[in-house]
């Protein structure tokens, strides 16, 4: 699927913004993921063309960073941290509960396509509110089983016309295409 015209314009602008157009690779990958939800080889070839760089360079960079997805995932992205500070406050129990509630294993997507969840050992920077998870990049802190239930119920609501059901009204529209992360292996 070719990139939208606005994305292409954005990428071309990025190339002008930095002292070196190579610096535009990561922002360009983000722009593609914003638009398409994940980054395909074809999209990387397009980035390469617009930046005037070999596509091998785009792929080399892209594959280093865990947040660039190579295939589509669920509409919502749920990441729960199980590093030590979160573990101390019961993250393992919350991750187990999340797995039971969603009925799919770590790294998988629910059958209705609503949620992809995974645990991560990469600290997400909310140890003060542990146990925590990130839902479409928003912090959900001080988790309990009841809070997880409420969040999941919200995410499971069918997509209303014009935006994701999980988004509060105040959320800017662009968040509905919030970039997602690739799962990590623990």
């Amino acid at each position: 699927m070719p990139l939208a015209k606005s994305t292409v314009e954005h990428i071309k602008g990025l190339a002008q913004r930095y002292p070196s157009r190579q610096s535009a690779i990561i922002p360009a990958l983000w722009a593609v993921q914003h638009e398409q939800g994940y980054v395909t080889k074809e999209a990387m070839a397009e980035i390469a063309e617009h930046l005037g760089l070999p596509s091998s360079l785009i792929e080399a960079t892209s594959s280093f960073y865990s947040m660039f997805l190579t295939k589509p995932e669920g509409r919502h992205d749920v990441v729960i941290c199980v590093n030590a500070p979160c573990m101390l406050r019961g993250a393992d129990e919350m991750a187990a509960y999340l797995q039971r509630t969603l009925g799919v294993r770590d790294g998988q997507t629910t059958s209705d396509g609503a949620i992809t969840w995974h645990s991560t050992i990469e600290c997400l920077g909310a140890c003060g509110g542990a146990p925590m998870m990130q839902v479409d990049h928003r912090f959900e802190e001080n988790l309990t089983e009841e809070r997880i239930d409420a969040i999941i119920e919200r995410l499971r609501q069918p997509v209303a016309a014009g935006g994701g059901a999980a988004l509060p009204a105040a959320e800017p529209a662009k968040r509905k295409t919030a970039p997602k992360r690739v799962r990590t292996q623990n």
Binding site: S23, T61, E122, G125, G128
Partner: protein
């Protein structure tokens, strides 16, 4: 010692993230004053203030600035907002509460070092914080703090906000620069240090978010004022991120030199559930464990180092008596194994094998020689890896073996984790 907030003094003000509110609280007065000074005067001022880098290493900021080679341009200022150290969430807090304070600090630093282009490298996971900075930059540009001929003083400055994409290693300064240049975020050899040859091969200064946040206050109030706060070798305050088994986890700004006890038992509300303190870890995932006997050590780079650990990036992870130290170390080791960039063998292979061994301990499959094998791997990584990520991956597990070797033994003799059943019933 009473807490004298510097960075967080206005954080109770509503809507501080908005430029108008920030200005009403005295915001950008530091930058305006800085523009009246000569850049060299600013470097001297910061040197005299004794400000040390808040990113982890504690290197004197003014000294770092003065390493720039004379007459070589362009130069770049890079603000490291790639906060990813497990246990740390202070930069996130500083950005959320007052993005303009961060920006003002960046502008002062850029002017002081003679840079006309500054970068903020923010970790990919911090999307709302990225957006907060983006808004702040737009507001500052509109108000004339960023752009050509800033406030009519003939100084040009532009700020580029650059978002990372999930690599802990990019918090290491040379890896961050490599990443900012669009490559895989692998560290580079030092020397040449970034101040000589950094971003795009040009002189580059990298400062942490918290470090730059101090600058407006130092410029406004002077070096002597700043030096009067804290300890002789550790001026100012620091933001400490308290997490783990305390009643009130969160960010607390503490004057340097304040006893750790005041942070954990005072601000943090003490160990939760009326349990006893077993251990705590200052600095973040990398740093060595300390014991209750260290509670009276001061919150200060030098004091914590003397006690056998490092203040690092200002985390304070508190562990109560029910904590399995083996499992805590296992999480950190798995983190380092996951985040190793793979460039050098000791780190890539060593962290992998350490993680494997720790899994064996937790699963009850460890053999008597495995404790020494862990230490052996640790020695083979520390001092032999390309960048500090590898070295640091060994510090916490080795310190845990030093102080809690019997717990490792127990995992072997009881063929599994003796802490799997928490003693909650017993104490409740």
């Amino acid at each position: 010692m009473p807490v004298k907030p510097v960075l967080t003094k206005d954080f109770a003000t509503e809507n501080l993230e908005q430029l108008k509110v920030y200005e009403r609280a005295g915001g950008y007065a530091g930058f305006k004053k800085a523009l009246e000074m000569q850049p060299d005067e600013l470097v001297e001022l910061v040197k005299k203030s004794g400000l040390r880098g808040r990113g982890g290493a504690g290197f004197p900021t003014g000294n770092k600035w003065s390493f720039l080679p004379k007459g070589v341009y362009p130069r770049y200022l890079v603000c490291n907002a790639d906060e990813s150290e497990p246990g740390c969430f202070k930069d996130r807090y500083l950005i959320e509460k007052s993005p303009h304070q961060v920006l003002e600090g960046i502008l002062i630093a850029s002017y002081a070092i003679g840079s006309n282009l500054a970068f903020i490298y923010i970790r990919g996971e911090y999307l709302p914080q990225h957006d907060a900075l983006e808004t702040a930059i737009a507001e500052a540009r509109q108000a004339g703090y960023i752009g050509k001929n800033v406030l009519g003083k003939g100084y040009d400055i532009d700020v580029i906000l650059h978002r990372g994409a999930g690599a802990y290693i990019c918090g290491e300064e040379t890896a961050l620069l490599t990443s900012l240049e669009g490559y895989r975020g692998e560290p580079r050899l030092k020397p040449p240090f970034p101040a000589i040859k950094g971003l795009y091969g040009k002189p580059t200064i990298m400062n942490n978010v918290e470090t730059v946040c101090n600058l407006p206050h130092i410029v406004l109030n002077g070096a002597d004022w700043f030096k009067a706060i804290g300890t002789p070798t550790g001026s100012g305050t620091r933001l400490w991120c308290v997490s783990g088994h305390v009643n009130r986890p969160g960010n607390y700004e503490m004057e340097n030199g304040t006893p750790i006890r005041e942070l954990i038992e005072g601000q943090g509300g003490g160990v939760w559930k009326n349990r006893k303190l077993k251990a705590f870890q200052p600095g973040g995932a990398s740093m060595m464990v300390l014991l209750p006997e260290h509670l009276d050590v001061g919150l200060d780079f030098d004091a914590i180092q003397k006690a056998g650990s490092l203040a690092g990036a200002g985390a304070m992870v508190v562990m109560d008596e029910t904590t399995c130290m083996v499992d805590a170390a296992r999480r950190y080791v798995k983190f380092f194994s996951h985040e190793s960039c793979g460039k050098c063998t000791p780190c890539r292979e060593g962290t992998f094998w350490m993680a494997n061994l720790f899994d064996r301990f937790e699963a009850g499959d460890a053999k008597p020689g495995d404790i020494d094998l862990l230490l052996d791997i640790g020695y083979s990584i520390d001092g032999r890896s390309f960048c500090p990520l590898g070295d640091a991956s060994t510090w916490f597990p080795r310190s845990v073996i030093k102080f809690f070797r019997d717990e490792f033994q127990q995992h072997i003799s009881e063929k599994g984790c003796p802490f799997k059943k928490p003693v909650e019933e017993a104490v409740a």
